[in-house]
Structures are given as C-alpha cells and as structure tokens.
Symmetry: C2
Subunit: 339 residues, 2 copies
C-alpha cells in the first residue's frame, strides 16, 4: 500500500503524523497545532516555533540575495512567536549546504541572520552546520517568552468578535510573481536586463518582510488582549480557516475591509489577477490576523495600522466573503500545497 | 574571492559564521559552543539543542529502517541535553521530503519518533513538514530543563580531574562499516543476501543507539556533579579535544581504560582496523564523556557502567594517549568532516 503524500495536503499530513502523539510532560501546555508550542515555566511560558526552508521549494537563489534570505528566514519564525502574543528571545539556526556554496556566500546569509537578530533583539544561541548532497536547507527554531494569561491561541475567537488585520495583504505574492516573470525572461534570453518596473514595494514585501513586533508592543501599551491570533503566512483565507476551525466558529470577511496597497492593486491588474484573490490566497505577508471582543473596539479604532475586516459568526454561517459588489462568496482555504 | 567551506572544517565554519554574534538577552546564559544552549528562567534553565540529518550524508536508507531512523534522530538530540546534566522534556521535528516517500513510509519514521518520545518521556510539541526536491532532511530541536547550579558545561575540567566514560566505544562505527560493506556487495550483485555475521551488537549500536538518561539519573541519586561533560557523537578524541580546548587543560587517556565491547574488538580485527582507533575516532556511540573531581572517585568507582579512562593534565602537557604497550601518542582531534 502506497499513499501519496499529496493526497493529505500539508496540514492533513501533519495531523496524520502527529495525531497519535500523547503529551506526557505537565509543562507541555500546547503541542502541535498553533503558531508555536507553549511550555509552562510557572510564572511565564516558553514559546517555541520552527520552520524549515528548502532551496527550490521556499526560495530561489536566482533572485533572492543570500542576505535577504537570512533575514527573512529569521523573521518568518519570529512572526510565529509574536502571533502567540509573546516576544522572541533566542533562535537556533541549522543549515545544510552543498559544497557549491563558498564561505563568502554563507557570510552573506549570516549577515542577514545577524541583521534580523539585531533588529528584533534576539540571540542566536545554537544550531547545526552540515553538508547536503544538493542545494540548501535552513531550519530555524525561535524561542520566546510570554505571560501565561496573555498568550493568544488560534482557538479563542467567539461569535461577535471583530476580525482585525495589521497591514496590507497580497503584495508579497505579487512581488514573487514579478521576480518569477523576470527570471523566466532572463532564462530565455540572458541579455535582457530585468525590468522590475520600480515595484520596490511588492518586491520588498517578498524579499524583506518584517514581523509585527510593533503591534504586539502596542497591544501591551493599550491593554488589549486579542481573543485569537495567527500570522498571515499562507494567505488570509487559509488563516481565517485555521481560526474558525480551532475556535468552532464561522466568519464574514468584508472585501472593503481587507487592506491592499495601491502598488499591489496596480500590479495585480497588470498580471490580470484580482487583487482580493492575491490578498486572500497570496501568502507571505507576515501580518497578523486577530480577533477582538467588540467591547475592545475603541482601543483599536484609531490605530492606523489595524484594519477591521469582518466579524466572527456562528459556525453554521460558514466562512464567507462579502464583496464590494455586495455578493456573498463562500471562502475556500486555498493556502499553499507544496507537495 | 571564493573560500571553499572545506578549508574551515565543521567546527571552524561554525566559529567563523557565529563568532561575531553578540548575545543581547540577559536570559541567554550560553550560546553557540556547547552541547546545548542555556536559557535562564530564574530557578531553573531551559536547555536547547538542535541537529540536522541529511539523507546521503548522515543516513542511508539502503540499510536504515525508517523506524530506526526516527528513533535515532530523536535520541541523538536527547543525548545533547543529557550531556548538559539536564533532562529533555519536549522536541520539535521538521522534515523535508521528496514525493518519492509515501504516507506509509512517513508513518514508519514517526513510529520511531514516537517510540523514542515514549522511552524518554518527551513530548513532540511542534515542527514543520515540507517538500524537498530530492531526498529527506530531518531537523530536530530538543528542549530540556536543568537546575542552574547542576548544569555541566564543556569548560569546567580542572587539572587533576578524572576522565570518565559511560560505556563502550567504537561499535557504532564498526556496525556502519559492516552495513556499508554489505550494501556495496549487494549493489554489485543484488542476488547476494546480506551477511551480517550475527553482529547484532555493532549493528544495534549503529542503528538504534540510546541516550544515557540512566546515568544522569544516577548522578542525581549519588549526588555527583561532573566538572565537565559532553556526549560522544564524533569519537572520543574529538570530544576530549572540545573539553580540553574549552577548559584550557590537557589530558592523558589510558588505552587500557577505554572500554571496547568484545564483539567490536573482533569486528575491528576482521576489518583490519585497530580497535582503539575505532573507539577514538569512530563516533555515534552517544555515550557520555565527563570529568570528575578526584574527591568524587568513590562515588563512581563501583558503578559498573562508568569507566575511568584518564586524567586531566596541565595544558602544556597536551592531549595524549598512553597505549597498552606503554607508548605515549599525541592525540589528534579527527572527528568527522562532512564537507
């Protein structure tokens, strides 16, 4: 019997493989299934998240500078810690590389890792460096701290909560489309210089994303604890599905409430793509999606970087998008299937 | 300018890449450079270790059952936590796999991971599952706890301390030689059945190593705190070099004090290898190498699984092996260079 891994999808495969692991340690507060694992340390919790990035799957060195790759590899892990309403403190970095990489190339990668460590105030405390027969694999684990009663999980959204987003969506995906297009043109004719059309915004969102530490700090200042939270790595549709599934609720997203940068809007039209589709299914924006109690709305209403994009509904209402044209669409959790 | 990674070696490369990272978090007690990183949590410490295993470099699925691979992948990480005199509590497991692996194959891998979790009482709390263009990569992070004043580093050995080993060395390496030989024979003629010569011991040491939790528990019971400790993953010579380098001391190893299993001894001779060379440079035994204050010798003298194998010397004496024939050899830290 041979079942192809594609039949389960990424999340189905994780569920399948880890579903029969029983937690034995009293300190294991949260295992597989949120942005990060949570370990009870008494007064506070240690929060752990890990990601593996594979050359040819998650990154393409044809258009990704190694320094940017190092920076982004760290940021995507820190984003998972912030999405728990916690603060990252340490990281470990493991890399496997083939001998086609020089020490100077690795220096570039680690310069990016160091820049991210400095920007976010985290320490590189360990890792592993080994060879691979082909290509590069980067595995980063981020370790953070959070007060136990402030940690924010995916399963806390309640009917009537407001759905909030911390920044514009879709641009990272469109930046990737642009880089892929120019790579293709270059491969067909190496004499043609890349034409990135001054799309710094979209390309910057793709190559050098930032994690929203600023907003987690803001939450502390204004005394806001979201009822649920997740970072937007696979696209808004996929993330709202995670929240709804784990919270046992439905959701209504207002298209007019989903922030899209004007540059992304124009770029989408050039690619003959619907901007809202890019925002819903694009991924890699690393903004935060969170829900708040409606009584907390005054705390966020005048924060320029928080967008109210919908409402949590009864589970029987499903997960729907109310378009600008006033049509109700059932949302599908497209996300990204790598296999 | 292009410097080949081979020119630095594994440890040199790690030093080069991570040497200019400054620790900023007050909780980062120990960064790169020991078996595990140490994070201060007040009354106790969180200890973190990570390893990356790459198909074709660290394991060969031609003779490694996936269940054993899963088990061993966990054990080698737990071994690093025990080597800090701490106890592992949680692990995260990330894997990258090509689509040639079926769900059933992954089930086998995870059955081994689960078996190790159950044996050692650790919880799988997170990870990542993604695809790779070719082959399998496994990255495991182990998270443990230790009392701050009991943690044992590589840098605590003092002149006059006794050097101890927790079990026999060299068999894992010889098991690997046997498996490699049979693979070669099989590749040349697939009709020939493997002849493993009833070498269960050596093959078991290679395919299903165990971490020495039992001895860390014993240390607690008998009130022993080693002055320094490291696990033997790269061979005794490489590990004693790490201890001597970080402690600023020399060492004398007595060949007669290095435990070698009779099966390993015989197998070495069949391969025309010197058994002590296998013990010194073989690696993957996952025993513990530690040093104790000479005043503690009565605590370990009658423990059957602890072998006293030498003494810590003045740094000017270097690192030497006193052979059974009474000759003094200068030891070289051979270890394993993957690049």
């Amino acid at each position: 019997m041979r079942t192809d891994v594609n039949t389960l999808g990424e999340f189905g495969l994780i569920d399948h493989l880890t579903g029969n692991f029983v937690l034995q340690q009293p300190s294991s507060l949260k295992g597989v299934g949120d942005d990060a694992a949570v370990i009870d340390n008494g007064s506070f919790c240690t929060v752990v998240s890990t990601d593996m990035l594979v050359e040819g799957i998650h990154f393409d060195l044809a258009y990704t500078p190694l320094k940017h790759l190092g920076y982004k590899s760290v940021v995507v892990n820190l984003s998972d810690i912030y999405a728990m309403n916690a603060f990252p403190k340490q990281i470990t970095v493991s890399i496997a590389i083939s001998n086609r990489y020089s020490v100077e190339a690795l220096d570039e990668l680690y310069a990016g890792i160091r820049a991210a460590c400095e920007t976010y105030g985290v320490d590189l405390v360990g890792g592993d460096t080994t060879s691979s027969p082909k290509g590069m694999v980067i595995s980063i684990t981020a370790i953070g701290q959070g007060e136990k009663d402030l940690l924010t999980y995916r399963n806390g959204a309640r009917v009537g909560d407001l759905i909030c987003i911390t920044g514009d969506l879709g641009a990272a995906y469109l930046g990737l489309q642009l880089l892929e297009r120019e790579k293709q043109i270059w491969q067909e004719n190496p004499d043609v210089q890349p034409n990135l059309e001054d799309q710094q915004y979209a390309i910057g969102r793709q190559l050098k994303p930032e994690a929203r530490r600023d907003l987690i700090e803001t939450f502390r200042k204004i005394g806001l604890k979201p009822t649920s939270m997740i970072d937007i790595s696979d696209g808004l549709a996929s993330e709202i599905f995670h929240i709804c599934k784990q919270s046992g609720v439905g959701a209504l997203i207002e298209e007019s409430g989903v922030p899209i940068h004007p540059d992304a809007e124009l770029l989408a039209l050039k690619f003959k793509l619907d901007p809202i589709t890019c925002a819903l299914n694009g991924g890699e924006d690393y903004e935060l999606l969170f829900t708040i109690d409606p009584n907390d709305v005054e705390k966020v209403r005048f924060l320029p970087e928080i967008y109210i994009a919908g409402e949590i509904l009864d589970p029987k209402d499903g997960i729907k998008l109310n378009t600008k044209g006033g049509n109700l669409h059932v949302l599908k959790a497209q996300g990204w299937t790598h296999f």
